[in-house]
């Protein structure tokens, strides 16, 4: 299945901002971040179609997945 993956802040370093990537059906967010070699403990927030999701979540084909390190402001 094809997903749009977006990375932000330091996660872009050595990777990409936005990519269309193909994954086998049943791929979880954990599989995606591991494949991108993003250390799980550096993850702040993951959004799938704008909603917060956990590592065990399985996106649907065509979904947009956004992965952020721990960030803040205000």
């Amino acid at each position: 299945m094809e997903l749009t993956v977006k990375l932000f802040a330091t996660f872009r370093d050595g990777r990409f901002e936005k990519a269309q990537l193909d994954y086998p059906p049943g791929t979880t967010l954990a599989n995606i971040v591991d494949a991108l070699r993003i250390p799980r403990d550096e993850i702040g927030v993951m959004l799938v179609m704008g909603r917060h999701a956990e590592l065990e979540h399985t996106p649907a084909p065509g979904d947009t997945v956004a992965i952020f390190p721990r960030i803040g402001g205000g």
Binding site: A9, T10, R12, V45, L47, G50, R51, A66, G73, G74
Partner: protein, 578 residues
Amino acid sequence: MDNILRIDMGAPGGPKATMEPVGAYAGLGGRGLTSVLVSKEVDPLCHPLSAANKLVMSPGLLTGTAATTSGRISVGCKSPLTGGIKESNAGGQAGQVMARLGYAAVILEGKPLNDDLHVILINKDGVHFSVDNSLRMLGNYATVDKLRVQYGEKVAYMTIGQAGEMKLGAASIACTDRELHPTRHCGRGGPGAVMGAKGVKAIILDEAGTTLRAAKDPVAFKAAGKVFADGIKKHAVSGQALPAYGTNVLTNILNEAGGYPTNNFKTGQFAGASKISGEAQAALEVKRGGSATHGCHRGCIIQCSGIFNDEHGNYVTKQPEYETVWSHGGHCGIDDLDVIARLDRLDDDFGLDTIETGVAIGVAMEGGLLPFGDGAGAIRVLEEVGKGTPLGRIIGSGAGIVGKCFGVERVPVVKNQALPAYDPRAVKGIGVTYATSTMGADHTAGYAIATNILKVGGFVDPLKTEGQVDLSRNLQIATAAVDATGMCLFIAFPVLDQPETFQSLVDLLNAFYGLSLTGDSVVALGKTILSAERDFNTRAGFTAVDDRLPRFFEQEPVAPHQVTFEIKGEELDKLYNW
């Protein structure tokens, strides 16, 4: 900080200063002192521009000490914008100098007998008044440039621009940073208008001959300070993300989460967001020889700010922060960082709250004055404020007035103060804070974004109604207490996440003052402050209907999640349930 300095601007024969011991206000600082004092001493029914209002400036409890990131100054008064109580705090150097001079508060009272512009110098020898009408209708930059010839580089300036002199609702008080740029503003709610009404153009604070404030228990203070600083450094937000990208790192995450108010709250995502994101901004600043990491005052170890240069490498302004980038950016449909930086510079120069002003321009766009996305037009409209034209006065009076003047229904204000950069329909916890804060719509009053979006201090789903009132209440109480310490609110990220960092903040207070406060005392302090503010507002005539969002948030679903704000009034009314 044993003394309170009262300055009667209306005394016969010219301004008169009196010093008194801190007395009944001992143990209070920052927002704690300003709010308790305003609530006790200011007639809630007075006109905000009248002699009866007071402008109270107070450094925090730890300001002027060796504790890191503790340089905030609070300004309190009855707000010309909301008609309720106001506390607005800023960084820059002023707070530290005022604290080192020994003042728990400096208060401007009364009303001058004529329209002279006064300059007040406060140094270790006392207070000196002068009249300088050559400063009339000068912006903050020109004002400081002129004053520094006379008063030098080693002082802190608090000034008002044209907006304050015209006594407009969005007028701020500028505090200079370490480079003497007037970029740190007590912005929200119009405190600059109150300073203007008191006839004061500038306050100069000179620290020559003063020292850092000394703790009662220096050994314990130093130890707690180390734990505190280590906690800030090791947390990913305060130690890495804020220094690298500044607060504008939020643009992308709010946009992805569908909570980024676009074109005056019509939709929750902005096509141009990535162009004005913190990532893009930091890269541009570095490329142009500015800086993406800069502290607004001595001793800040987070350094969320930066320096924004133009394409030729010349200084334009400090790094516009997230709310400023949003209010002039996505809210107005503008996706050009150079336009946004120019607007930020003009706001700082004229002495305007960037949130109120950007929202006002977006509301004017909705009212047909200019199209959404018109950056050049936005600059032109804002320049009217500096000229003091009727249109400029309307814009500088805030979003509520602009909405009335241009016949707009969708006016995002609570208690007449503009909503900041988070859509309350898609991030419901912040909606509770906007509705119920004593300050009017204010994100800092109870920053539910931390827990709703960023997963700091736990997680409460931003799209659900459950748990939002409790979340906002707890944050509003904690924030009121932090605002009393003089700590920058961004210490809240490590404090919320790391129990030992919270404890070290309490230890700092205990070691400094010889107290034995606990976490519970901090909560009690926060409640005392909020209760004083709420009591003032009640006596000023505010009721439950003032604790509501504008109706369109309940009626118009916002994309992409197609949600409205559906937390009931009865639930909002439970916020102050102690």
